[in-house]
Subunit: 349 residues, 2 copies
């Protein structure tokens, strides 16, 4: 009696737990509307090539609404062989205001170009493993804050159908379109500025928080590099983003004997500046302070905070770059000027 155990699809369980109704498919819609699945597809996608009578259209739409039908993106992607998803891995650290704004603009601009931007939370995976995870989604384009992907990873992504891979960071990666954004240059600019202002014993703040090395490393290295071979000296200062840590650093300030500090960014600068002022250290007389990122808060501090402004590409420009690359991957990307870091001198240095 081989038929006895056959499970009838969609049959309600004889008793008990409320069987979760299966997700309606286009076949269900077709059945309810009394048409074929093809017709359903035509109607719901407003296929221009085919003429469907108005009554039929209405019946189909009505049935779809009645069932709460929603097409299955995976099935569509599979069938179509491509998607319009632009993937952007999330940063390993909470986004700052600068990056949040950038992502927001980029997303908005790409939405208007009819792409879907997806921020993919891939914490835990590193390097090429991460790239493989992204590639599984078959995005049409990928924007990676580099470092975070190597040439291998780029190759995997492209072989998986990505029409373009754009990196946003200090180093160009083989095979990817690089938007050069050199954090070392921020450090260089800050250090050079402080040197030009006559300072010689220069502290560089390095956030104690994990995951920030990606940015803080280059900023420190750049500072070192700018002062190499001069009579100035760089001291690395670890600082956590807490008042306690800042107070502790301020307490040992006299012993450090510094006359200037590059505070990683404006937020750390604000934190440190306040702690120094509370400890009786005068800014800029005793110590010059410079931040980075040109956040609003720097303009609101007293003394006004000098900062290094880093020119991010506008979200809209980058969106159109991605769009062009998707439409003609063949086009040779014109090499890109690195985004410059410029010092905005105010009153703290």
């Amino acid at each position: 009696m081989p038929y006895v155990m056959v499970q009838i699809p969609n049959a309600p369980a004889p008793t008990m737990p409320p069987v979760p109704r299966p997700v309606p498919t286009s076949a269900d819609v077709a059945r309810l509307a009394g048409v074929s699945r093809a017709t359903v597809s035509y109607v719901l996608n407003n296929a221009g090539a085919v003429r469907i009578s108005e009554p039929t259209r209405r019946r189909v739409r009505q049935a779809a609404k009645e069932l709460g039908y929603v097409p299955h993106a995976a099935a569509r992607t599979l069938r179509a062989g491509h998607s319009r998803m632009v993937l952007m891995p999330t940063l390993p650290v909470p986004a700052g205001p600068l990056y949040s704004q950038f992502v927001h603009d980029f997303q908005g601009a790409l939405s208007r170009l009819d792409y879907t931007v997806v921020q993919y939370g891939a914490t835990g995976l590193r390097g090429d493993d991460a790239a493989r995870a992204w590639a599984e989604l078959r995005p049409v384009a990928v924007l990676v804050p580099s470092p975070g992907v190597g040439p291998e990873g780029v190759a995997v992504l492209k072989r998986s159908g990505a029409r373009t891979v754009v990196t946003l960071g200090p180093e160009a990666v083989e095979g990817a379109r690089a938007l050069l954004l050199d954090h070392a240059d921020v450090g260089r600019s800050a250090a050079a500025h402080l040197y030009a202002r006559g300072r010689r014993r220069i502290g560089v703040v390095v956030p104690a928080e994990r995951g920030m090395e990606m940015f803080s490393g280059p900023r420190l290295a750049g500072s070192r590099e700018a002062l190499h071979g001069t009579d100035a000296h760089v001291t690395e200062l670890s600082l956590a983003y807490t008042e306690e840590s800042a107070a502790a650093l301020a307490a040992r300030w006299p012993a450090l004997g510094l006359d200037a500090v590059f505070a990683y960014n404006d937020e750390y600068a604000m934190l440190l500046m306040r702690a120094l002022q509370d400890a009786g250290v005068r800014v800029p007389e005793d110590v010059a302070v410079i931040g980075a990122d040109d956040l609003m808060l720097g303009r609101l501090l007293r003394p006004r905070l000098s900062t290094v402004r880093i020119a991010l590409p506008s979200g809209r420009d980058l969106a159109s770059l991605v769009d062009r690359a998707v439409r003609s991957p063949a086009a040779v990307p014109e090499p890109h000027e690195p985004f410059g870091a410029t010092v905005v001198q105010r009153d703290s240095s």
Copy 2:
């Protein structure tokens, strides 16, 4: 001669543009390794139920690596009938520090539970259209900063296979697990605090930026509500996040005759406080100022900024809540205490 025009799959074009090599599939791997697709699948997924000889495993892995094979997530999802994607629509405004931190924690925690968190940039779509767009991805769970989805939207998501829909906002939505986070309560707390401090002519800052109404509306309404029927009076103050806008507001401050202001959040409070101080208005003597969100910068201002702290759920708690809901959607969610708003009084009020 019907065969003449047949296109041979994968045949290189006789001349011309470098044909993008087609994406390798598991069939390609199988062919190269000289095994069946089934075997490839078993090997690459480490299927425990089946024993595959070590040499075969090696051959398969080697072939996969050689081709740069990456499985197709859409196909897998389609076949499996479900995914482990947790979808979170991106906010219509750039995320502030509070939310960035929350999202980061939430993502990290869910990653550790083996979910994939995806922030979906759905700008442009509203309400139930947006919900439909999310549903197309068939996420296993959805976290929506409400408002942003109605009961209809929740129903669509659930019918599309979402095991749970969690809203994070002021109102419970039928069918969804609500984390009540009432911005009106922030306004109420701020206003009540200012009233208790003896202030009666109270300004409430409303950001001029588009898209913020979602938060600013309730905060204003809550302030109004708290003072309704008292002898205090609320004045709505539009303020853009620029120094110019703040200076303009400060310039007409005397005419406004206010003795207190709830400045929407700490960032706007900082901006306004600076402008007021520059215009010779004393804080808190002439005007009491209170912000919200309890950001670090409030503690660094002088006078220290009073603020309304809003207790967000921890990312980890929320992640485990989602995980439990996914595993047993039947479980009746214990009703949740709204997250409270508590006033942190410092020196500005």
